[in-house]
Subunit: 579 residues, 2 copies
């Protein structure tokens, strides 16, 4: 298309509210405009990229045997009441009443609607397996929408739902989606990890997140350099470093003054001992029962692991787990907050992270104002009820699967696959007859991809100071032709010839026919991230040459005019589906 | 795709609430399911057809130079307050508050949002013309959603908006869209008319509706068999039949008893005179001023024409025009309702339809209970203030443009093009600098196509007792292969061979691999309206033949197996884009 006729309103200034680079560049490049907090207009360039993402997702979902459907945005309250989520979902669910007063919501997800659709027509295992998907607008009324498309309120998602007669089938459906997701993110040209993830409130028991690696990502993930195991830090399994164990202890316990030293950093600085020699004492309330949790001073408790451990291996049924308040801590330890320790505390269970087990002669709070104990040893000075993997994983930790070393990344979650089991089918009576003639709830999986968020993630991972560096598969156009001297007839006629020939070959090409200086044309081309720029200058064209510049490379190359079209066709071949 | 793995839940019974055939067949064929009143799930077949419609619309919009964007469904109240429609729009506008209490609506249309987007970045005539469009989900909270996809609450629309510096440019943009719409409806394979339409509440002054012709259509339209002029009956211009004029009159007025004969039918029956000899007297209230309107007994007043005439040629400023209530009629005529007439009424304006002008010796109410006057003549017995074209057009009327004859149709409105002028740009300060450096509001047009409604309209126009007869361009699949004897290896292997070869050629093909009888397979194939059915029977295949049946033809044809693929490729060529 000719740039002079296109609606590509680039801007020089970053928007005031843009905290991340994708938000800045999407606004400056004329891809999106804010309509309201967390709600954006997609302008022509932005929408082209979104549609390319959609199309790759669609092709791979189809290839995986999923069938495309389209479910309403406006959903009746009754279905959410059946599943129980009408009350559970909270304020993120945008609720309203229609003109007759009936309650509805703007769907943030479609488990209820799709389960309702399937239960109406699927009655027998012979109709299974089924996997239906849609690419559709969702709304989540976030408290703090921010980061542009990264955390919007209205957004586009691909959501798929599988239905099987039994768990074996459901896990097979899960694996098919897992593989499809790998193909999708590879085709999008992204560096990503599929990480094991917590199943959170949506229920179910198997779950992977697909995380695009980017420094600005909100999620912390670790991956093993050896076996490829990857997980959200909330979930990552780690192993005790055997080298840490086995040191002898047994020095005499002493109590030292540590005035005003409350945090690990303050104690470490005051006593001139590293945090690795301090044991951190945290008081939790598990449904109003206090609980002491110990970790090494430089480690963090992972509350998801802690809760899973309490309800799993310890067989409890804890609903709410929270840090104790100051008053609760002081009631338990008889000392101000910051000086809590495990020695001498009675009537409360103490559990500790695995990394505490080998520690000897360590430091803890003394349960006295401005005092800490040193040379403390568990088993002698106090008893630990159980040791377990309770801490957040981090770089350098040992992989829980293979013993390799974990590295840390930041990631942007762009996809999620979930095995749901019968959570929704049971609540909503979505049953089928199995081979034996018995009624049983279908086994479900759900599989999301944040289509509009991917556009932001692509940019977070692929940009430089000049703008976006689109992977070929997601670029709104593949090529921009910049004729520099619009009064030079040869320049113009060659630009037009190449423009027509590329269009005829199916290349998506912009002709920058605006009467602007080279610098301005290049600035816009770099900003909007078109992968290939072809520049026709007066002198070059008279010498029979034009300049090809690939956005992600620093070098330019002069190419004979007669070869330009073939070269560009070669550079764009994959994106045009010629393989 | 193999039908055994597809989600195509056909049903034998019509849904209880389905009043029109498209609704019945869409549900029975497994295309849609109702989620709530006027809100539907699209199942795989239904969604495929919708996407085909979308794609044709998209290609023609792109070809016409429009640029695709995507605007939010959730729109802030502020913009609707700027345009004034927040209060005007009524209960069809679904309004709600977000978690912070800010007011929003689910967009039923996007004039405000698009005007806001354009005014933010377009400041000069040099950036114009622009035409942006989207294909997107809308919501209108209809009082009485019905007829399935014909009048739903949540639906998909293509809406385009053009922006020009002046009216000349805007009308050019209008014409470009008008031509694009013709291409779209031709490609969809529909019989339709582009009719001149009333501009209603949306404002503006030039407007055409695109109406798909179908007996079940809600709209009445007329078109001229000679010049092609077509219009909604509300708007259609007609001409006086000269043959009607010129008969001599002058018989003496008489008053006859017509007990209980109030309606034209009753008077006509009682006096044994045709309705053509009776003049109907209607009392209207134009903003509380009474007005008598006369038409021939067999004609209907068109209130839109009447209001346009009052405010146009007569230069009034009537806001509300309504039929007078019984009490108002009786106060004016001093007689019970049903006996009103123009003779002897004082202090009220009388206007008449053109068809009344040549009438002589006609019958009117006598303004006396149970009495009518006969042999009445205007100019002698009472005065008519003005004669004008005030009646609804109908079949047999004379074309107002060329003198040809009008024919009547019923239509389903599937598209609408509107010249809006500066209605929104003025209210919302969407100004540009023109060539002289003056600020002026942009001139806008808006252009809608009801994408999901088209699917219903296609079926209303194309069906028989057995089901849908899809035009090739809109069919979810083009071909269904029915192998009849799944235990006959030759049948199965030939079916599989043809299935693969057609898929490789880009033909969209279903293989009905279900173990069902021929009758059941044919029933489903007819119901879902696949254009071409290929049947492989045991005997036929052994003779080297298969049966090709085109859905809209009654004849079958036996074709050598070796020619089947080429024949089907030829039948589906257009739909596959090979021209």
């Amino acid at each position: 298309m000719r740039l002079s006729t296109m609606f590509v309103p680039t801007r020089k200034e970053d928007p005031a509210d843009a905290e991340v680079v994708s938000h800045q560049l999407l606004v400056r490049g004329g891809f999106i405009r804010m309509l309201a907090r967390g709600i954006y207009d997609f302008l022509p360039l932005g929408w082209r990229s979104v549609r390319k993402i959609e199309q790759i997702v669609r092709e791979e979902m189809d290839r995986a045997g999923a069938q495309e459907v389209h479910l309403p945005a406006v959903q009746p309250a009754e279905l959410w009441q059946e599943s129980g989520r009408w009350t559970q979902y909270g304020a993120e669910l945008l609720r309203f009443r229609d003109r007759k007063g009936a309650e509805f919501c703007f769907g943030p997800t479609h488990e209820e609607v799709v389960t309702d659709m399937i239960r109406g027509d699927v009655k027998s295992y012979k109709q299974l397996p089924l996997n239906v998907y849609q690419i559709q607008t969702k709304f989540r009324d976030e408290t703090r929408p921010r980061f542009g498309l990264m955390r919007g309120r209205e957004f586009i998602m691909k959501d798929a739902y599988s239905f099987d007669v039994d768990e074996e089938g459901a896990l097979k459906s899960y694996d098919v989606m897992f593989e499809a997701y790998h193909r999708i993110f590879k085709r999008l040209g992204l560096e990503y990890r599929a990480v094991e993830a917590d199943t959170g409130n949506i229920g179910g028991s198997r779950s992977h997140e697909f995380q695009v690696l980017a420094e600005t990502g909100e999620d912390e993930i670790v991956s093993c350099t050896e076996c490829g195991y990857a997980a959200n830090v909330e979930k990552a399994e780690i192993r005790l470093d055997v080298a840490e164990a086995g040191k002898p202890g047994g020095s005499e316990l002493a109590t030292l003054r540590t005035p005003k030293a409350r945090t690990i950093e303050e104690v470490s600085a005051y006593l001139k001992r590293p945090a690795e020699l301090i044991v951190k004492t945290l008081v939790y309330m598990a449904d109003e029962t206090p609980l002491i949790v110990l970790t090494r001073g430089d480690h963090q408790v992972n509350e998801l692991k802690l809760k899973a451990y309490l309800n799993g291996e310890l067989g409890r049924d804890v609903q709410e787990l929270r840090m104790a308040g100051d008053a609760e801590v002081e009631a338990l330890t008889k000392a101000p907050v910051g000086f809590a320790g495990p020695v001498g505390v009675e009537g409360v269970e103490i559990i500790a992270d695995l990394a505490v087990e080998p520690m000897v002669d360590f430091i803890v709070g003394a349960n006295l104002k401005d005092k800490h104990h040193v040379n403390v040893n568990h088993g002698r000075d106090f008893e630990v009820g159980a040791f377990a993997d309770l801490r957040q994983a981090g770089a350098g930790d040992i992989c829980g699967r293979c013993g390799g070393t974990l590295e840390a990344h930041r990631g942007i979650e762009v996809g999620h696959v979930f095995f749901l089991g019968d959570k929704y089918s049971k609540a909503m009576n979505a049953n089928v007859l199995d081979e034996n003639g018995d009624h049983r709830p279908m086994q479900m999986g759900c599989y999301g991809i944040g289509v509009t968020r991917i556009l932001a993630a692509v940019i977070e991972q692929n940009h430089d100071d000049d703008g976006i560096i689109f992977p070929m598969a997601v670029a709104p156009y593949q090529v921009v032709i910049c004729p520099l001297h619009l009064k030079n007839e040869l320049v113009v006629s060659e630009a037009e010839r190449i423009y027509s020939e590329l269009q005829a070959a199916g290349v998506e090409v912009i002709l920058d026919d605006r009467d602007l200086r080279a610098g301005n044309k290049f600035k816009d081309a770099d900003l909007i991230g078109i992968p290939v720029r072809l520049t026709l200058g007066g002198r070059g064209v008279e010498n029979g040459e034009a300049e090809v510049k690939v956005r992600h490379q620093s070098e330019n190359e002069m190419i004979p005019l007669s070869e330009v079209v073939d070269r560009i066709k070669a550079l764009t071949r994959d994106a045009r589906g010629e393989r």
